[in-house]
Amino acid sequence: MEYRNVLTTCIYCGVGCGLYLEILDGKVVGTLPAKGHPVSEGKLCIKGWNAHAFIHHPDRLTKPLLRRDGRFLEAGWDEALDLVAERLTAIKEKYGPDAIAVLSSAKATNEENYLLQKFTRAVLGTNNIDHCARL
């Protein structure tokens, strides 16, 4: 039997509200606003209150999927990344780098987001980079 709370920062936008993820027997089961938090002062919006909901959700993607004959099938990372590299290179050669846009995620770390914008600008050669926190 285990019930504890882990402090984290809301992943949904740039405000950075403080919240606790409620952990019951090793599973994240709920969210509590972090009282006394300097940013959010124990308040959350509807998205923050549901910050735990996707963690164990059955629809969450945990493996790369490749579309074959109109159906999504599980694939290995190497295979998926090879295909992405091949297609991005082909699109860039045929239509130019501005035919590509990249959407990053507030659910990724700061460092991962830095890496993605660097990849977009320096490797793909376009400024078309944005993120899901612009909500």
Binding site: M1, E2, Y3, R4, N5, V6, L7, G18, Y20, E22, L24, D25, V29, G30, L32, P33, A34, K35, G36, H37, G42, K43, L44, C45, I46, W49
Partner: protein, 260 residues
Amino acid sequence: MKRMEPLKRAVAEALRELDGVLALRRAWGGVAPHLFLREEELDELALWPKYPLPRTLQLIQRAHPESRLGIVARGCEERGLIEMAKRNQIDLGRIKVIGLACTAEEAQVCPCPKPYPTILTDIVIGEKIEPVANKMVEEFLAKSSQERLAFWKRQFSKCIKCYACRTVCPQCFCPECTLEDALWVETGRIPPPFPSFHLVRAMHTVGKCVGCGECELSCPAHIPLTTLYTLIRQEVQELFGYQTGESLEAEPPLVLPMEM
């Protein structure tokens, strides 16, 4: 802190006979609910800020119906446990309550009609202090009907429909919430329709709300919800002679079939 050492001793003693004790814990520079399982963890025991612990107790008890649990409960939390037990949301027979009296400063925050437990436990850590009246209620009662309507219209126009008041409330345990039913609450509109959204919730707290104040404390729009619910509690008491959380025997005047 005068309350900390006696509380630690009471929790440590309870842990010898129980599977765990639900209380507050200092962690990551903040405070959050925690199920204490071992005496060694008690160095991190905390007193404030309060959280809706009865809601957490229900969560743990549902997952472990056979467990013997303790809970460090304030006045509001004891009242909450009583109303939840009356509606089969928690099993009081498997719970040991360790009472904690709020300080005058803590009772001001809510503000609290009875800042210490008296029913479910003989142990109360801390000094029993006087209840704190909700000043806004007095101000509100001096207003005319038109002024009252204008007051709530203005307050509820701030609502961002985050559902915090519903989600944080230990007394909100319906499996399906009317506030998420498009028949009652039009979707995709902020602020939600006046006054139906807040009146649906207010109606559903009748005979249940114990004035813990968690709804107002967690409201990002600073809507004075405790004022609304205090007024409802006063009416329930005047009309039906029922005071929420004050006795295990008294039957609530309104028991919705879906709660049973």
